[in-house]
C-alpha cells in the first residue's frame, strides 16, 4: 500500500538528442542504407540532429559530434556504429570535452550486430538498424547525468600473516614506499619455514632463507610488525579501512589502511588415527623435517605414504606440494646415508614443472623406491612393516621399516572462517580463500581492496608463496598508486523511501557491497565496492534497488521500442 506520490515516467520535456550514424567505411554502409537510417533517426521523438559520418571515430567524426553538441545544444548523444567495448570510452570522453555529461551518451551497435551478420540482406539489415537506433534513442531519453564516484586512498597496507608470502608482500610493498602493517599471530615471523629443514633445489637452509627476508622487512622504516597479534575487527572499504588489532591481553591497537593482504597460510593435517600415527614410529613429513633439521633422524628403513588423509571423502583436493616434499626428503636421506632404504608409496606423483621433474629422476637415480598403491586398498602399517598390494599385478608386498612418514596435506586454518566473516570474503568448500577468478585474477578477491597470496589460497611451495607475495604487492600498487579512487558511477542504488529491508539484495551481492542498517531497517549500497552487476536490482521485489544506467524505465523503454 504505497503512499509515496510517484511521478509518471514522462520523457523530459527538454530532450535534445543527436544521432550519429557511422558508415564505418564500407563495413556498415556496404551492407545497409546508412542514409535511410539517418533520415529515420531524425524523425524519432526527441531527436533534433542526425548525421551520417564516414568514420564517426575519426578526428573529423569526433569534431562533428562536439560541434553539434554546442551548436544544437544537444543533451543526449547516440552513436550507431561498432562495439561499445572498443569505442564507448572514446565517444564518452569526447562528449565530456564538449561539455555534455558522458553518462548521457548511448551507443548502438549496427556493425557487429547488424551489417556484419546480415551481409546479404540489405533491406532487412537497414530495417533492423533502424530498429536498433530507435531502441537506443528510446533509452537515451531516460539516461541521467552521473558523476564518477571518487574516494580517497590511504597509502597504507595491512598484511595479515608473517609467513613467506606475507613477508614477501610486506617487503615488496615497503620497497614501493607504501606503509605496511604486518600482523603475525605467532610470537615469531616466518611461518611454516621455521619448522622446515632445507629448501630445494637450491639446498639453502629454510631458516636462513626466511631470516634474510625477516631482517629485510625489519630493516625498513615504513614497516610496522606486530607479532603475537591478531586482527579483531575490520570496518570500511577499499581505500579506507579501520582495523582493530589485539596483542594478547593487551590494549587494542587501531590502524587505518587502504588495502588488505590476506596471507594467513595453512597448516599440515595432524593425521590422528591414520596408519597408526604415533609421532614416533609413524610421523608426518613435517616431523621428519624437524628430525632432519635437528639431526635427530636415525632411521634406516623409511616408508613414506603419500596422500595420507588427502584426496579422501571430505578432503578431496590434492595438496600439491607433498610429493615434492617427500621426494626432497627421500633424496636427502639417501644423500646422508646411501645405504638407507627409502620407499615412497603413492597414488599419483605430482611433480609439476621441469625442475621438480628433474628432482624425481634424481631421487630414482639415488635409489629411492616408488610404488603405486590402490586408494581402494590403502597400505597397512603393522608390526614394523608396511603391507600393500600392487595394483594390476595384484602382488601383496610387505616392506619392513623402522620409520613410516605420512605425507599429509596442508589444510585451512581454523581461524579462516572468522576472518572470512570479518572481511566478507568467500572460502571454498575446503576452507581455503576463494580468489576472484582462478585464471584472470588469482591474487584478488571479488571485494575490491582485499588481496590474497600463499597457502591461504591453496597449498603453495616456498617459491610460489614468495612470488605470490611479490605479485600481490603489485596488485596493491595498482590501487594505491593512484591519487584517488575513481569508479564508474553506474552502480546500484537503493531508495531509502521504499526499501523494506528484506535482505534480498544483500544475500545476492557477490561483492559484499550491501549492508543492512538496523536503525533504519533498510539496506544501503557501498558505491565503492559495488561493481554494478545488477544482481540486487534483479532480486529486489520492490524496485527499490536499481542499477544506474540500467534502471527499469531505461531498459523497458528500450524494449518497448522494439
Amino acid at each position: 500500500m504505497n503512499e509515496k506520490r510517484k511521478e509518471k515516467t514522462e520523457q523530459p520535456d527538454d530532450l535534445r538528442i543527436g544521432v550519429f550514424i557511422c558508415d564505418c567505411g564500407s563495413n556498415i554502409a556496404g551492407h545497409l542504407d546508412c542514409s535511410a537510417v539517418t533520415e529515420y533517426a531524425a524523425s524519432l521523438p526527441g531527436v533534433v540532429f542526425a548525421k551520417e559520418n564516414l568514420y564517426t571515430c575519426s578526428e573529423a567524426g569526433i569534431t562533428e559530434i562536439q560541434k553539434a553538441i554546442s551548436e544544437h545544444e544537444l543533451n543526449r548523444v547516440v552513436v550507431a556504429s561498432c562495439s561499445p567495448r572498443t569505442h564507448q570510452p572514446l565517444f564518452q570522453s569526447s562528449c565530456a570535452e564538449a561539455g555534455m555529461n558522458p553518462y548521457l551518451f548511448e551507443m548502438v551497435n549496427i556493425r557487429d550486430q547488424c551489417s556484419w551478420v546480415h551481409m546479404q540482406e540489405h533491406a532487412e539489415a537497414t530495417e533492423k538498424a533502424k530498429e536498433l537506433v530507435r531502441m537506443g534513442v528510446a533509452k537515451a531519453a531516460f539516461l541521467e547525468p552521473q558523476k564518477d564516484i571518487e574516494a580517497s586512498l590511504l597509502s597504507r597496507v595491512l598484511v595479515i600473516g608473517g609467513g613467506v608470502a606475507g613477508l614477501s608482500a610486506a617487503e615488496a610493498l615497503a620497497d614501493m614506499a607504501l606503509e605496511v602493517i604486518l600482523v603475525e599471530k605467532e610470537p615469531k615471523a616466518g611461518g611454516l619455514l621455521n619448522q622446515i629443514n632445507q629448501l630445494v633445489p637450491e639446498g639453502v637452509k629454510a631458516a636462513e632463507y626466511v631470516e634474510r627476508i625477516i631482517e629485510s622487512v625489519n630493516s625498513k622504516s615504513n614497516v610496522t610488525v606486530h607479532l603475537g597479534t591478531e586482527v579483531k575487527a575490520i570496518a570500511g572499504y577499499i581505500g579506507n579501512y579501520e582495523i582493530t588489532l589485539q596483542r594478547g591481553e593487551g590494549e587494542a591497537i587501531q590502524e587505518k589502511v587502504g588495502c588488505i593482504v590476506v596471507a594467513t597460510g595453512a597448516v599440515p593435517l595432524e593425521p590422528a588415527g591414520l596408519y597408526g600415527y604415533d609421532g614416533e614410529r609413524v610421523i608426518t613429513q613435517m616431523q621428519l623435517e624437524e628430525q632432519l633439521l635437528n639431526g635427530q633422524f636415525k632411521a634406516q628403513r623409511v616408508v613414506m605414504i603419500q596422500c595420507a588423509g588427502a584426496r579422501v571423502p571430505g578432503r578431496e583436493y590434492c595438496s600439491r606440494i607433498c610429493c615434492m616434499i617427500a621426494v626432497k626428503n627421500a633424496a636427502l636421506i639417501k644423500d646422508q646415508d646411501p645405504e638407507a632404504q627409502v620407499h615412497i608409496l603413492y597414488r599419483d606423483i605430482q611433480m609439476y614443472g621441469t625442475e621438480k621433474e628433474r628432482m624425481l629422476w634424481d631421487a630414482r637415480g639415488k635409489g629411492v623406491r616408488f610404488d603405486v598403491y590402490d586408494p581402494e586398498k590403502p597400505p597397512e602399517v603393522k608390526d614394523g612393516q608396511v603391507l600393500f598390494e600392487q595394483p594390476i599385478v595384484g602382488t601383496k608386498r610387505q616392506i619392513p621399516c623402522d620409520l613410516v612418514v605420512l605425507s599429509t596435506p596442508l589444510v585451512a586454518r581454523e581461524g579462516a572462517s572468522a576472518l572470512s566473516q570479518l572481511l566478507r570474503i568467500p572460502m571454498d568448500q575446503n576452507g581455503f580463500f576463494l580468489e576472484a577468478h582462478a585464471k584472470l585474477r588469482p591474487l584478488d578477491f571479488a571485494t575490491d581492496g582485499v588481496f590474497l597470496c600463499g597457502s591461504a589460497r591453496y597449498p603453495a611451495t616456498v617459491a610460489e608463496a614468495r612470488s605470490q607475495g611479490l605479485g600481490v604487492a603489485s596488485r596493491v600498487a595498482t590501487v594505491l598508486f593512484k591519487d584517488k579512487l575513481v569508479t564508474s558511477a553506474l552502480v546500484a542504488e537503493i531508495d531509502p523511501e521504499t526499501c523494506v529491508g528484506c535482505l534480498g539484495c544483500l544475500d545476492m551481492c557477490p561483492y559484499g557491497a550491501i549492508e543492512f542498517v538496523p536503525e533504519k531497517g533498510i539496506c544501503e549500497v557501498n558505491t565503492i565496492l559495488c561493481k554494478g552487476c545488477g544482481c540486487c536490482a534483479a532480486t529486489c521485489p520492490s524496485q527499490s534497488a536499481t542499477l544506474k544506467g540500467f534502471k527499469p524505465k531505461q531498459l523497458l523503454s528500450q524494449i518497448r521500442a522494439i
Binding site: 557477490p510 561493481k531 552487476c533 544482481c535 534483479a538 532480486t539
Partner: protein, 75 residues
C-alpha cells in the same frame, strides 16, 4: 557456468530462466520460446549455430499466441 564476469550472475539468471520456462508453459506460452545459453565472445560458431537453431524453433512454433491475442484485441 560460474565463469560470469560478475561471478554468479549467470547462475542467478539460469535459476530464473528455469522457473520462467515452466511458468510460461503453464500459462500457455510454449517454453521453447525462451532460451538461455552461455556463449563466450570467442565462440562465434556456437553463437551462430544457436541463433539459427533458435530461429528455426520459433519459425516452427509460428507467431506467439500473445501477438495473436493482441491483434484480436486491436481489431
Amino acid at each position: 557456468m560460474g565463469d560470469c564476469h560478475y561471478l554468479y550472475g549467470n547462475v542467478a539468471t539460469e535459476k530464473r530462466v528455469r522457473f520462467l520456462k515452466k511458468l510460461l508453459a503453464f500459462s500457455g506460452i510454449e517454453e521453447e520460446r525462451l532460451r538461455c545459453k552461455w556463449v563466450s565472445s570467442a565462440e562465434a560458431s556456437e553463437f551462430v549455430e544457436e541463433m539459427q537453431d533458435f530461429t528455426e524453433t520459433l519459425r516452427a512454433l509460428g507467431p506467439s499466441p500473445l501477438k495473436q491475442a493482441g491483434a484480436q484485441r486491436a481489431a
